[in-house]
Symmetry: C2
Subunit: 378 residues, 2 copies
Amino acid sequence: MLPEKVSLNLSGQRFHVTYRVRGTDATLPVTAEAICVEQTVEFPRDLLPQGDIDTQIVGHMEAMTQADDSHWDVTISYPIEITGGELGQLINVVYGNVSIFPGVRVTNLNLPSDLANRFQGPRYGREGLRTLLGVTDRPLLCTALKPMGLSSQELANLAYEFALGGIDMIKDDHGLANQPFAEWEERVRLCADAVARANGRTGGRTIYMPSALGTSMSLRERAILAKSYGAQGILVPPGIVGFDTVHQLAQDDEFGLPIMSHPSFLGSFVTSQDNGIHHGVLFGQFMRLAGVDASVFPNYGGRFSFTPEECTSIIHGTEVPMGTVRSIFPTPGGGMTLDRVPEMLQMYGPNVILLIGGGLFRGGSIVDNTRRFLDLLQ
Amino acid sequence: MLPEKVSLNLSGQRFHVTYRVRGTDATLPVTAEAICVEQTVEFPRDLLPQGDIDTQIVGHMEAMTQADDSHWDVTISYPIEITGGELGQLINVVYGNVSIFPGVRVTNLNLPSDLANRFQGPRYGREGLRTLLGVTDRPLLCTALKPMGLSSQELANLAYEFALGGIDMIKDDHGLANQPFAEWEERVRLCADAVARANGRTGGRTIYMPSALGTSMSLRERAILAKSYGAQGILVPPGIVGFDTVHQLAQDDEFGLPIMSHPSFLGSFVTSQDNGIHHGVLFGQFMRLAGVDASVFPNYGGRFSFTPEECTSIIHGTEVPMGTVRSIFPTPGGGMTLDRVPEMLQMYGPNVILLIGGGLFRGGSIVDNTRRFLDLLQ
């Protein structure tokens, strides 16, 4: 039997989520009420015990404004206690079940400091990463080891050349896993060694961040193993390994290295105007809460579909105040070429990591191309 | 420098993914080629070394048939080696980057046995779960402890009543995490104890599966801790903890209990006809490959948007042959009521877990309602 009445000792502090809801004057209140219930008690409201479950736990509709002919912006608040201060459950409340509602999209997330401060957030963030790399104010340059199909030694040779050219960061292409032609452990070891040798020769501080996919062990075990081989960071796809899992790793002091996120398998959240999560919330705020230091996303004008406005919203999400949670680097990639650098600098300013892959292979040696690209960033 | 030519010693075995692609006669070949490159080498094709990377690693366009005026079904094959036999990387290849393409949706996944057999899959599956529960041929009945806001003791009292009524499985509502009014460890302990006491009284075999979200530790640590408190399975949201992470847990012999998946945060993959992953692939095949034994999804005719055809495709996905990977239970929930049971039996047949929440609280005691529901399933 359910109790007749429930009193809870809640703080009264609430966090706010704005949903863009498709509908009409008639359907809108129904959908808004459905979100309030679905994201919390998932229970017929008439059967709820009297008291705080009904009045406090169930979401509150705080504001409703019309966005266009068929869409409304509906802001709903939830008590901070229902997250338990955990990222997995925060995501669950923000967009767990209503992700299945076709006409409901998350457009804004507003956490009070008391909730945001429960999250350690990025260990490095913009400032920490700059200190680690010894680069005070210019944009950072990152490349990816590719194409899939090269041997570990061939990939390590590329890493050596990029590092000789003075690049700031080298990551595995996100498709490098544990393929028989370049097994994960061998690759991580050889590439980390190659970067260390090049750094020894140049006095540089290039870091190597292998992909986290590729072995039959947990993300944490892989990350610690990569560190033991000399990797100085890790590339993770939160869509595949889970935001919750990334969050655990980021808090792990034994690991303690920078984390770069890859957008793989997250595209379906941002390809529809009528469902999903706005770019800045997903690739900015969620990544920061998960403890990511640099968030890779598809640059506009490349081979993907993001608009300049969507990329601007990501910049905003990487730095919008959230209690003590640090700002991180937006890391646009895809279709980056030397001749687009001035445009990129204008768009992103200095606080960006430019991710360039194929573009550093075209028309010259890797070392020369890397130096030329870096010169443009000074 | 890239090598000029690369020879790889590949088996020649390939797996097939069918994508529904929006486009015209003119754009279609461009999109198909883009998928072949994007999901593998992510590299300008003209710069690739000669040999096997270009001819084998890059996806092969195997078939293309027109689906309607603006959509085509494009089947692309990839060498099984590029998955490294890992689920995370398989997902990465199937739909990592192209999830960001607005007009590309996964509609079919076909793995040769040599690849499917690399996955241990569900530890229990349909047969194992039936043996565990001692139910040979009727549909299984599951409920969820709710609403959020009850104390651990109040939730345990509900669990006791459901188990007294003889229900097969009790899971936490997926929104129960580590809230101050029902802390995770206390709740798991009290609910597991309550179910054990009820089983002792009835001689029944009800199992309790707590939610995996809710503590600052890894999924594995939470799952093992839950087991130590007497839980006999676990409820996981792969959308939040990651398919890759669930896959690790399912292979963990120290855990070794049934896994039920929850669709939270996965809705955006199935709300669009032009992007995402078909229901049967996502809630059937992906869950099985991840080692899930029972896959929860929104039933048609409830408060969500799935159609009967989409639910039928999930049934198919839970049992379509995939090497040695076991069949699992489709677990429809949402809006389940006693009067819908005959319709559910006709739709799903005996190999289903019916998930009913609020419906067992209405019009009678929990024990009586549970017994009445079970009677309908005999």
